[in-house]
Amino acid sequence: MTLSDASAVIDADVRLEPALLTREDRARLLRYMTMMRSAEERALSLYKQGKVPGSFYDGRGQEAISVGAAFALAPRDRLCILHRDLGAHFVRGVTPDRYLANYMGRADGVTGGKDGNMHFGDRGLGCVGMVSMLPDMACVANGMALAMKMRGEDRVALTFFGEGSTANGQWHEAMNLAGVQRLPVVFVLENNRFAYSTPNELEFAVDPVRRAAGYGFPGVEVDGNDVEAVFAAAHEAVERARAGGGPTLIECRTMRMHGHGAHDDMSYVPPELFAEWEARDPLETYAARLLADFGFAAAEVEAIRAEVRAQVAECAERALASPMPDPATAAEGVFAERWEPLGDGAAPWSGWADAGAAAGGGPADLERRVA
């Protein structure tokens, strides 16, 4: 591989063929982003009311990334979702009540109180809950992809990580192995400008997406606040992986609009940066686009917001009604009695609408569907 090829950074500003997304898909994209925003706002208020033990983290401003990326996955694909990616859980079928209950340490939370905040994943929906150590899940996603490849399945593993995590050795080990074995894995890098309080300049000398070349697979840069751009890049990467084309690193440029955690006042962030990115809010800009470019009526958009608000409110009640776990179970479950497969996740994208696709799916079905 000559240097120039190796270094090519694909620019995914290319608008995707509109055919890929139906009107209903676009409504869904807005709905999931709105659900993430509302659920996190509700969780934050619960935290401020003292109903959330420990600390609180959200992904405000980054909603387009987890929603757009997860939207490209088939039911049979697998995910490791990270701490700014609540939208991906919702896309795969987790309901806000189980998210809120998890944050509150309730029995009906996804982990039943065993783990907290964003350290959860619904095994029944094809997700492995993240660990705190970053970016360890990238190595785990590799392993899932390795199993898929060995068995000749046209399935894909997708995971996320922040730009700060790319400084960790495990990021390199994951990228290198994925490149050597051409694993069907998609790496979504969320560059939100900061790792906790640490700005990009202290994290790396060269933007990590440019490192993809050094691992032998494409690095793609997209506007992380444009849900359709993220979907387009993820879709392309997923199909490449499915077709045996190996891994892709997608860098989504965005901005973390809240503190690292609720305890963090972000005094280290220049205010103008907020102003700049506030204007690029992924929900607002997408809603505007639905009205301007895709013939949505203001009432439709408002209806989506209202529905979501209602659903989240109802979910919060359910979560608050959930009991605390029984202390007697605290020492249970350290060891497994048997292995069981993960379940498949929801795949709301119309590309998977026909059962066949959901079950087997893959590029073929896809083309059929899209044509």
């Binding site: 420990g54 905040n117 705190s132 309080s197 640490t198 029984d326």
Partner: protein, 322 residues
């Protein structure tokens, strides 16, 4: 002269005092500069000492411990901050294989400190609540300290910084703001390897460290019994004499810590006593620790796993009644 400081303030005070005293003292860690650290131990340090001496590192623990090792060899006195003690698993190799063994293998001294905000009790969950100290005792070449009081926190940190060896400094997050006490102003050191008799007594000995010390002292007061409480302070080297003296005196020993049981520091202390003070024992050696499970997040689950005041009282009562 002494001031009333919290355990957390005492750590900052100790670190600041050593940095003023010796310009080779250097802090390395994540978010310790402009942000002052996840727990604000180094708040204001970058302003006073400059961001080079309070260096914000990339998210890479082996790089942090490894850089500290190299800098220490070249004459600096690096103090690494793990954002949470749990993350030492990510810098484990540099610590146990490089830093710990260099003097034994090559005669190269490695004066570094790894600060480890450890322990649970506030729903930190399985990755922000661990007490990793026993791992270090299985890595010859490391010294390990775990202060329980504000004064010891300052004094042991100063001693750790001045020590020519790698020292793991376990600072229990549960003590940060809940423990406060008299702390000598200015330079203050506490010798590594010396336990402290936190409470004199003759009926039973509670040998503890870290968060288990206040737990033991509270239980002793509430029970109003003749309970001796030994605060180990240093986990390696262990103060064998202090441990054995108390065990021989009371003949009844409860070893207590928050970390999990299997191969924990409590196991080592119990084994030491069972070997060296056997003739003086009047009761089985009991341990009060977390069971061998990850630390769960939800308050009722966490409380069921971490030693609670009632557990401590119950364990003391049992031993007194034996």
């Amino acid at each position: 002269m002494a001031a009333q400081l919290t355990y957390l303030e005492a750590i900052s005070d100790g670190l600041r005092t050593e940095m003023r005293r010796d310009e080779s003292v250097l802090c390395l860690g994540e978010d310790i500069g402009a942000f002052g650290g996840a727990f604000k131990v180094t708040a204001g340090f970058a302003e006073e000492f400059g961001s080079e001496r309070v260096l914000d590192m990339p998210l890479a623990e082996n790089a942090i411990v490894g850089a500290a090792t190299g800098a220490a060899i070249e004459g600096m006195r690096p103090v690494c901050e793990m954002q949470f003690a749990d993350f030492i698993a990510c810098g484990f190799d540099q610590l146990v294989n490089v830093a710990a063994k260099l003097h034994y293998r090559q005669g190269v001294a490695v004066p570094l400190v790894v600060r480890l905000p450890s322990g649970g009790g506030f729903s930190g969950g399985p990755f922000h609540s661990q007490n990793p100290e026993a791992w270090f005792l299985q890595a010859p070449g490391l010294k390990v300290v775990a202060p329980a009081t504000a004064a010891d926190a300052k004094g042991l940190l100063a001693s750790a910084i001045r020590d020519p060896n790698p020292v793991c400094f376990l600072e229990h997050k549960g003590l940060y703001r809940h423990v406060r006490g008299e702390v000598p102003e200015g330079e203050h050191t506490v010798p590594i390897g010396e336990a402290r008799v936190a409470r004199e007594g003759g009926a039973i000995s509670v040998i503890a460290y870290g968060s288990a010390v206040p737990l033991a002292l509270a239980a002793a007061e509430q029970l109003g019994e003749d309970i001796e409480v030994i605060d180990l302070r240093s986990l390696w080297p262990l103060d064998r004499e202090a441990i054995l003296a108390s065990a021989r005196k009371t003949g009844k020993v409860l070893v207590a810590h928050e970390g999990t049981a299997a191969c924990g520091v409590g196991a080592e202390v119990a084994a030491l006593i069972a070997a060296e003070a056997f003739e003086h024992l009047d009761a089985p050696i009991r341990r009060l620790t977390a069971p061998d499970v990850p630390i769960p997040f939800s308050p009722p689950l966490e409380a069921a796993v971490l030693p609670q005041p009632d557990d401590m009282k119950e364990a003391c009562r049992e031993l007194l009644a034996y």
